[in-house]
């Protein structure tokens, strides 16, 4: 069977930008700061497009959830080669409180609606670093999951995933439909060429709300404070093991 692939993309602060915490500690400064597609999502999009180019997939649909500006990220996915896009519009105020649980419910509903049988997501977003959305989506749909994928092979109904785990590499076979989360070494994403960026204008982008999908965005998590990590203090050099133990005892650590 051919796969119909749903790919999730998120608009995040560009990885090269120096993050600054807002003075009121409610979050980080996003106004006027450069944003781009989450790097792991780029890898996910690239993999989906390669599947289509190798004729293992019929259609690649890019999905994003967020306020109006999230559309920019969709357009990048379309410029890379996705066939069409879906923008689930979430107003900025609600978006701040939205997390992996709500997003996974949205993806699940969309997968059903679009009759997708493969969802590829980035393993985590570089702003939240949650590493939960792929796993939760699979759970909501009761689909197989292959997370931290560094290699992907589709043969008929069987999806072979090589996963990067603490101990090394783990190879598993999944029965479709499945959710995969992309890790760094899965592939090297292509650059969206300027002609493709201009052609992407003509590709369809559908707009929905969470309500249209019947998903409740209520969250049981509240962000209390966002603060800088403590300044790293200088270390000291010790001459030998005795001195080391002595210092550790002094600090009350042993």
């Amino acid at each position: 069977t051919m796969a119909r692939v749903l790919v999730g993309v998120k608009r995040v602060i560009d990885y090269a930008v120096k993050i600054r915490v807002k003075p009121d500690k409610s979050g980080v400064v996003t106004e006027g700061v450069k944003h781009s597609m989450n790097p792991f999502d780029e890898i996910a999009v690239e993999e989906a497009i390669r599947l289509k180019e190798k004729k293992f997939a019929t259609e690649v649909i890019a999905v994003t959830c967020g306020p109006t500006q999230s559309q920019e990220t969709l357009r990048t996915a379309l410029a890379m080669g996705a066939d069409r896009g879906i923008h689930v519009e979430i107003p900025a105020d609600d978006y701040v409180k939205t997390g992996p649980l709500q997003i996974s419910k949205i993806f699940a509903k969309l997968a059903e609606q679009e009759k997708a049988n493969l969802i590829i997501l980035g393993k985590q977003a570089i702003d939240g670093d949650n590493n939960q959305t792929a796993q939760m989506t699979a759970a909501v749909l009761d689909w197989a999951q292959g997370t931290f994928a560094s290699e992907l092979k589709l043969e008929g109904e069987k999806l072979t995933v090589v996963r990067e785990v603490d101990g090394g590499l783990e190879t598993i076979d999944l029965k479709m439909p499945a959710v995969v989360s992309a890790d760094l070494r899965l592939n090297e994403p292509r650059y969206a060429t300027l002609p493709n960026i201009m052609k992407a204008k003509k590709k369809k982008v559908a707009k929905l709300t969470a309500k249209d999908l019947g998903v409740d965005l209520a969250s049981s998590i509240e962000i209390l404070e966002v603060a800088d990590p403590p300044q790293r203090l200088a270390g000291i050099k010790v001459e030998n093991t005795e001195e080391l133990v002595g210092k550790l005892k002094e600090a009350g650590l042993v």
Partner: protein, 672 residues
């Protein structure tokens, strides 16, 4: 003098104000102005072919240029343009190792292929020929990202901004179909071959020759071109050579013709790549043509019309230097301010010292001004007149080029200074950026030539319009002479007394309080508008004085022309800055206060600098100083060495000399 006593009283009497005094209005190019006090007046300079700079010389501010500041048609267009630019910027950040390419003196082939894949070889080629079809504003925006690596920028510019531009501007449909598609993908690359060993700035004196073959099917080209960017590998070249042309009087003259020459036509040899100070990765070499046979269908435009094509090509690409350099300055500001916030000396961060702050401030101010000027020019170039012809923005484009190239060099040097010793080391990119920027003042028309062009082109226009008044002064009837004198007087009076004088006869920026009009300009910018108006009038006055003094001989007064050109550039900068700041205030853009402060600082500084510049032309200052300058320069050029005797020459005899002893006595007397 009767006039002196009468005029002040009359000016203060609003009822009599104008009609009595200005029967001479027709002297201003034949256009009668209605003076309906209390109604909003916009200056509408709709004279055909009059660009901003030309109108400026007559003291008119062309509102079509000023308002509105160029905008994109929609939010989507802006978003797409930003996406295009970000894609380019990202490629340069991640894939282009400028340091390595500079050291090796050549491009990484993977980088070049990446640029082709991105679509950067056909940015301004229309979509139907496989290009991106970007207009001038869009191209200017993308160019901001290219300047990450100057050698790449120059290579791309040589390919499309000049190399193939001729085919775009003057090519026939067949020529476009044949060449543009492969040039757009980068399968073929292009070069622009005009300069020769003995013909640089003096492009009309080129000596390459082409003659028709006996069967009339080919032009046979012979000549040597030097300093051709991409000359080592370009497949398609726009080559300029002299051809014999029979003109209307049946005289045979040699005129320049433009040809599209393919390397495969044969007889084309490229010399070794030049070892350069900067943009070292780009290929620059001599290209020689020996009996190269060019099919007659490859003549670009008309036989004998090549010079005009060359100038049009060069004029069409210049403006983008403004955004390229602005992009570079913005990058330098990020790097330098980051460093200044980390480096501490004397217990303080460098960022807290005024001398360091001044450098960053100057860079920001210059970047703001040059991008405002560049986009204003690009926006005007995108506006076609009713015949579908683009406007002539060549003077403004030249002004952008002069300003941005000089800022690139001076600010590059100041930025390097912020880093101190580190700036001087090859481990850091600042010395490379400085070296790369030096060429900007030389190619695409040296800044000296462009200043002369800016000055002479505006003077030519102004001269034609002021001719009537000048003639009247010299040879007119008594009444005409008097009206000419009173016009002059009125201007000087107006300038001396500033605001609260009668309405200015020429269409004005309409910002002066006395003009009783609701100014269109944002209220906080009105004082700046007044400064701009004053600078313009002062400039016009000087233009008139110089024309009156020298007449046609002004062509040889290069020092005067340089001053006039500098003033015009400053005023264009002021105008662009005000127009853009006004737009930001209308839209309530982010950091509007910061932007306004920067814009105001620029206008104030430029206003002051302009007065100093123009003061050099005042009678009393000018004559003596420049006479001295001429004499000394002539002596030096003739003797070809420094002529003054050495400071230490015969000092031992100095102290015995009776004159010295006399002076010594006098000095001792002062002390007592």
């Amino acid at each position: 003098m009767v006039l002196l006593k009468v005029i002040p009283k009359v000016l203060n009497n609003s009822a009599l104000r104008l009609s009595a005094l200005y029967p001479c209005i027709s002297f201003y190019g034949g256009k009668k102005y209605n003076f309906n006090l209390g109604k909003t007046r916009f200056s509408t300079c709709s004279r055909k072919g009059a660009s901003f700079a030309r109108e400026l010389a007559l003291g008119n501010l062309n509102m079509k240029w000023i308002f509105p500041f160029p905008t994109l048609p929609s939010e989507d267009d802006l978003s797409e343009l930003n996406q295009l630019s970000d894609a380019v910027g990202r490629f340069f950040d991640e894939k282009v190792d400028s340091k390595k390419m500079d050291e090796e003196g050549k491009f990484d082939p993977e980088v070049v292929q990446g640029l082709k894949d991105l679509g950067l070889f056909g940015m301004q080629i229309p979509v139907e020929y496989g290009g991106l079809g970007l207009n001038n504003v869009q191209y200017a925006r993308v160019a901001e990202e290219l300047s990450s690596d100057a050698a790449v920028t120059v290579m791309l510019a040589a390919h499309q901004a000049i190399g193939l531009k001729g085919i775009l501007i003057a090519g026939s449909e067949e020529q476009k179909k044949e060449y543009l598609p492969k040039l757009a993908t980068g399968e073929w690359t292009a070069a622009f071959c005009l300069t020769e060993p003995s013909s640089g700035s003096d492009a009309a004196s080129i000596q390459s020759k082409a003659h028709l073959s006996d069967d009339g099917q080919h032009w046979v080209l012979n000549g040597e071109k030097i300093w051709i960017t991409n000359g080592g590998f370009a497949d398609v070249m726009t080559v300029f050579a002299k051809t014999k042309v029979t003109d209307v009087n049946n005289e045979v003259k040699e005129k320049v013709t433009a040809f599209i020459v393919e390397r495969k036509f044969g007889g084309v040899t490229s010399g070794k790549p030049e070892d350069k100070l900067g943009i070292r990765a780009s290929n620059t070499c001599a290209v020689s043509f020996v009996d190269t046979h060019i099919p007659v269908k490859n003549v670009l435009g008309e036989v004998g019309g090549g010079f005009k094509i060359a100038m049009t090509i060069l004029n069409s690409g210049r403006f983008s230097m403004g955004t390229t350099v602005a992009g570079q300055l913005k990058r330098l500001i990020t790097l330098a301010s980051e460093y200044a916030n980390q480096r501490t000396q004397f217990g303080k961060k460098l960022a807290e010292f005024e001398l360091i702050q001044e450098k960053i401030f100057t860079m920001a101010m210059q970047a703001y001004a040059m991008e405002s000027m560049a986009y204003m020019t690009a926006g005007q170039m995108d506006i076609m007149d009713s015949n579908g012809e683009p406007q002539d923005c060549s003077i403004e484009a030249a002004m952008v080029k002069i300003y941005s190239s000089e800022c690139a060099w001076s600010s590059g040097s100041e930025c390097l200074q912020i880093f101190g010793g580190l700036g001087y080391m090859k481990d850091f990119p600042y010395e490379r950026m400085l070296r790369d920027s030096r060429i900007l003042l030389i190619f695409e028309g040296t800044n000296e030539i462009l200043r002369l062009y800016v000055a002479l082109a505006t003077l030519q226009y102004a001269g034609a319009k002021l001719q009537l008044r000048l003639k009247a002064l010299k040879a007119g009837s008594m009444r005409e002479k008097l009206t000419a004198i009173s016009d002059q007087f009125k201007e000087e009076w107006y300038l001396k007394t500033g605001s609260d004088r009668g309405q200015v006869p020429d269409p004005s920026f309409s910002v002066r309080s006395y003009s009783k009009t609701k100014s269109w300009l944002d209220p906080s910018l009105i004082p700046m508008g007044e400064m701009l108006e004053e600078s313009t009038l002062l400039y016009r006055r000087r233009v008139y004085q110089m024309l009156r003094k020298y007449g046609k001989k002004i062509q040889d007064q290069q020092l005067v022309l340089k001053i006039l050109a500098d003033a015009a550039i400053q005023i264009y900068g002021m105008t662009a800055v005000l127009s853009r700041c006004n737009k930001s205030l209308i839209l309530g853009l982010r950091n509007a206060d910061h932007e306004r402060a920067l814009a105001v600082a620029f206008v104030k500084k430029t206003y002051r600098d302009n007065y100093l510049i123009m003061a050099q032309l005042a009678q009393v200052n000018y004559d003596d100083y420049y006479l001295m300058q001429r004499k000394v320069s002539n002596d030096l050029m003739e003797e070809r060495r420094y002529l003054c005797p050495h400071p230490l020459e015969v000092t031992h005899k100095y102290e015995e000399h009776p004159k010295y002893l006399e002076q010594l006595e006098r000095i001792k007397a002062i002390k007592d």
